[in-house]
């Protein structure tokens, strides 16, 4: 019964989202502003309906209701409870429902954020958002109903794919989806502005918090996915340039560009048309990411046709939203007035350069991901575009981009002084040189690029710190002396300044982690119990190999003791081969030992009667890759708490009578 009610709630959400889509336009046509309020109520209503539907499906999964097809396909009575819950979104239908839930949640947030967004913009945004919700719920009801019943109900379910039975996978999709879907709000804002034919700094200010939320979550989601692939797939890589990964990386790159161009728009009223285009592109890439992955078109052209209704519907959605919004853009963008002039060497100029490199990197990933597909369709030739291609093309675009990060921050708005900026960055450059040379001396004869990368990371981190210091110190007559004064002023800087510096330092931390992988070492051997295998500064001893029974799997575990070269015990690691009888699938569980930010990584290979094949890696400072991403997201969060982002904007009342210049310039 609850399941049917959930299905009904979804149908109700479909109707409500249509109301939400139509009402703002009607209000404008009828000249009846009160009708706009209906869109607000509809947005809240459709969120409530989708939330109920999601709860109903979750309940069916939690209670292992095998009369529901979705539960049968993805659950098993013996599955641990947490995976029964995460199993809700570990499949096509459920993940779509989660997608729509987040979509309507964002819609409800916009509806509630009364003071943050001007009324007309808010209504139009809700309208666009309602239209997106409508199409997606329609897609779900028409082709991917999660509430379909099965008759007669089987006694046992088919279980979730073992690879997905992992804590990482329980939180990875929600994080990623908040990112993807968050950009739908920015998209809705952009389309609303195009419909209205007006765009200004108020728009930029209204959009920025949503972009920041989406970007921060997408950063976390990608990092989470990367860490999961690292420990679950069992061969120790952290990024594979897999089409699925690229699909999430593209909206992230475009979103990063968008984040920076909105800053220019908010501060200087420039780059308006470009920002609107980026907002459209970012969400288009999110859509492409969600659906190209779902449709399976990337692994093979032919799998697209396995379910023709779904495939055609997906193609329709993509054409409707991407094509439609780009057409609207071509038609309405010339109406948007350009403002804010600036010299090439200025903060704006550096941000334009940032956008140029980001978009070029995004285009490279896009073309690299889709090229084999297009080539096969057009000529029948099959080629592969893998990690060697992406590393060769992406890195040369990323390095200059990273080099200008602190530099741009050191330039003034409108017209900057390149020489002065370089002088202010002297400490960062010196730090890069010292750290890079130090790393090279320490690992003489090792890889060449690793010390360069370490230097780059140090440059970014010190550069971010310098940005805070030099802003706190001030310029000219108000230049502060003494650490105490600078410290006090630094604390008084706007949170967004701290957010920027933190996020940029996070990038530096990621670069450090990536560079350090140049010194990763690997050992490989077949061991008998008591045998040893070395990797870097550590030695693993195989204690024993024994079978063990888990809740819904059987496994063979290799127990290892890790010692350093001096023979002191550092810790114990278990790595196993698991077999899930319900799916007849075997997976390898790697064993990890964390020492500081470095890890010892063990992966079990072939099991032989008298021993086991074993792979041991030493991954120096590998955790920095993901910690850096967390620091970046933290920077995004810090910016969000900035006074001017705060929803409710109490500034208006307080700042009455003050000239506009009294508002902090940053």
């Amino acid at each position: 019964m609850l399941v049917e009610t959930g299905h009904f709630a979804l149908a109700l959400a479909l109707a409500l989202s249509l109301v939400q889509a139509v009402m703002p336009a009607w209000a404008a046509r009828a000249g009846e502003p009160a009708l706009r309020q209906v869109a607000v109520q509809a947005a809240l209503g459709s969120f409530a309906c989708v939330l109920f539907a999601f709860a109903a499906l979750t309940y069916a999964h939690a209670t292992s209701d095998f009369s529901v097809q979705n539960v049968v396909d993805n659950s098993h009575t013996a599955k641990p409870f947490i995976y029964k819950i995460s199993g809700v979104w570990g499949n096509h239908e459920g993940s779509l429902l989660l997608w729509v839930l987040i979509l309507t949640l964002f819609g409800a947030c916009v509806a509630v954020a009364r003071n943050a967004v001007p009324p007309v913009l808010r209504a139009n945004t809700l309208g666009v958002q309602g239209f997106i919700t409508f199409v997606f719920v329609l897609f779900m009801i028409a082709t991917s109903n999660p509430f379909a019943r099965v008759m007669p109900a089987p006694v046992e379910g088919r279980d979730l794919n073992p690879l997905l039975q992992d804590a990482g996978l329980a939180i990875h999709p929600p994080l990623l989806y908040v990112g993807y879907v968050g950009f739908s709000i920015t998209f809705a804002f952009a389309v609303a502005a195009l419909i209205d034919g007006r765009i200004d700094a108020v728009w930029a200010r209204a959009v920025r918090p949503w972009t920041l939320i989406a970007w921060s979550f997408l950063t976390l989601g990608i990092a989470m996915g990367s860490y999961w692939a690292y420990y679950e797939l069992g061969w120790g890589g952290w990024w594979f340039w897999d089409p699925v990964e690229n699909a999430s990386l593209m909206p992230w790159i475009a979103g990063t560009a968008l984040l920076h161009s909105t800053v220019v728009m908010e501060k200087r009223d420039a780059l308006k048309v470009w920002t609107v285009l980026l907002a459209i592109l970012t969400f288009s890439l999110s859509l492409l990411g969600t659906f190209i992955v779902r449709s399976g078109v990337l692994t093979s052209v032919h799998s697209f046709a396995t379910d023709p209704t779904r495939g055609v519907f997906i193609l329709g959605i993509l054409i409707l939203f991407i094509g439609g919004s780009l057409t609207l853009f071509a038609w309405r963008a010339p109406l948007l007035r350009q403002g804010g002039l600036f010299a090439p060497i200025s903060r704006e100029g550096s941000l334009v350069l940032n956008n140029l490199f980001l978009v070029a990197a995004c285009a490279t990933v896009f073309v690299g991901t889709l090229y084999p597909l297009l080539l096969e369709m057009l000529t029948g030739e099959k080629i592969s575009v893998g990690p060697p291609f992406f590393n060769f093309t992406f890195v040369p675009l990323a390095v200059p981009l990273l080099l200008i990060v602190p530099f741009g921050q050191a330039l003034a708005w409108k017209r900057g002084d390149a020489l002065a900026a370089a002088q202010r960055l002297f400490a960062a450059m010196a730090a890069a040189l010292v750290v890079g040379l130090g790393a090279a001396a320490l690992h003489w004869g090792g890889p060449v690029l690793a010390p360069v990368g370490v230097g780059l990371g140090a440059y970014l981190i010190v550069g971010s710190a310098l940005e805070i210091v030099s802003r706190a110190r001030g310029y000219g007559a108000s230049r502060a002396r003494g650490a105490a004064v600078i410290g006090r002023r630094a604390l008084g800087l706007p949170r967004s300044a701290w957010g920027t510096a933190t996020a940029h330092a996070g990038v530096g931390v990621v670069v450090l982690g990536i560079a350090a992988q140049g010194w990763a070492t690997e050992g490989l051997a077949t061991l008998k119990p008591g045998g040893t295998l070395a990797a870097g500064p550590y030695v693993a001893t195989l204690d024993r190999v024994a079978p063990r029974t888990g809740p819904n799997y059987e496994e063979t575990v290799a127990y290892l003791t890790i010692r350093n070269r001096a023979g002191d015990e550092i810790g114990h690691v278990e790595t196993s081969k698991r077999f899930y009888p319900s799916r007849q699938m075997a997976v390898t569980e790697s064993g990890l030992l964390t020492v500081g930010a470095s890890q010892v990584y063990a992966s079990l290979g072939e099991i032989q009667p008298d021993g086991a094949g074993l792979r041991l890696y030493h991954k120096p400072y590998v955790l920095l890759i993901w910690l850096g991403a967390v620091v970046m997201a933290l920077g995004g969060g810090l910016s969000l708490t900035d006074r001017r982002m705060r929803v409710g904007a109490p500034v208006r009342a307080r700042a009455k009578g003050l000239p506009p210049s009294a508002v902090p310039a940053e």
């Binding site: 069992g234 061969w235 890589g237 594979f240 340039w241 897999d242 089409p243 692994t299 350009q338 002039l341 090439p344 334009v352 140029l356 490199f357 978009v359 070029a360 990197a361 285009a363 490279t364 073309v367 690299g368 090229y371 080539l375 000529t379 030739e381 099959k382 080629i383 592969s384 575009v385 893998g386 990690p387 060697p388 291609f389 060769f392 093309t393 040369p396 675009l397 490989l524 051997a525 077949t526 079978p547 029974t549 059987e554 063979t556 081969k577 077999f579 075997a586 390898t588 992966s603 079990l604 290979g605 072939e606 099991i607 032989q608 009667p609 094949g613 792979r615």
Partner: protein, 150 residues
């Protein structure tokens, strides 16, 4: 029932092994290093986007052994790659060759930078501040009138 775990152990032992196995490793360290380098650039044909170095499919193992055999026979890296491409086609290369059919692919990064740079240059020229306009006689008179009123 007691035998089940043991049976399982046997099953797993017979099952696929992960990536490079100890018994595949060449005794000559520099040859093995080259083999790993080449393997990282060759696609496992039956997997989703994995190199043969990472894959545990039997076909990947065969390819790894072929690579090592060719190296032992004294082939250069290029010769080994050519040999594998002759047998399995261009699809096997994770780094596509540079040719007419991949021109657009390889040119994308440079093209994007050049086109973007050109666009920015054009826009910045077009958006130079408009030339100063002299006031018309009527406006001059109006200004003069306003000035007098003060």
């Amino acid at each position: 029932m007691r035998a089940a775990p043991l049976l399982l152990l046997a099953l797993l032992a017979a099952g696929p092994a992960r990536a490079v196995q100890p018994n595949e490793v060449l005794p000559d360290a520099s040859l093995e290093h080259r083999a790993r380098e080449i393997s990282a650039g060759l696609r496992c044909l039956v997997c989703q986007n994995q190199s043969i170095d990472d894959s545990d499919a039997p076909l990947a193992k065969d390819l790894r052994l072929i690579v090592r055999e060719r190296l032992k026979a004294g082939d250069t890296n290029q010769a080994v790659e050519d040999y594998v491409v002759r047998r399995y086609g261009e699809f096997v290369l994770l780094r596509p060759v540079f040719g007419l059919h991949t021109l657009l692919l390889w040119a994308t990064p440079l093209l994007a930078i050049l086109l973007g740079g050109f666009g920015i240059w054009r826009l910045s020229r077009r958006r130079a501040p408009p030339p100063e306009r002299r006031l018309t006689a009527a406006e001059e008179a109006e200004v003069a009138a306003l000035m007098r009123r003060d």
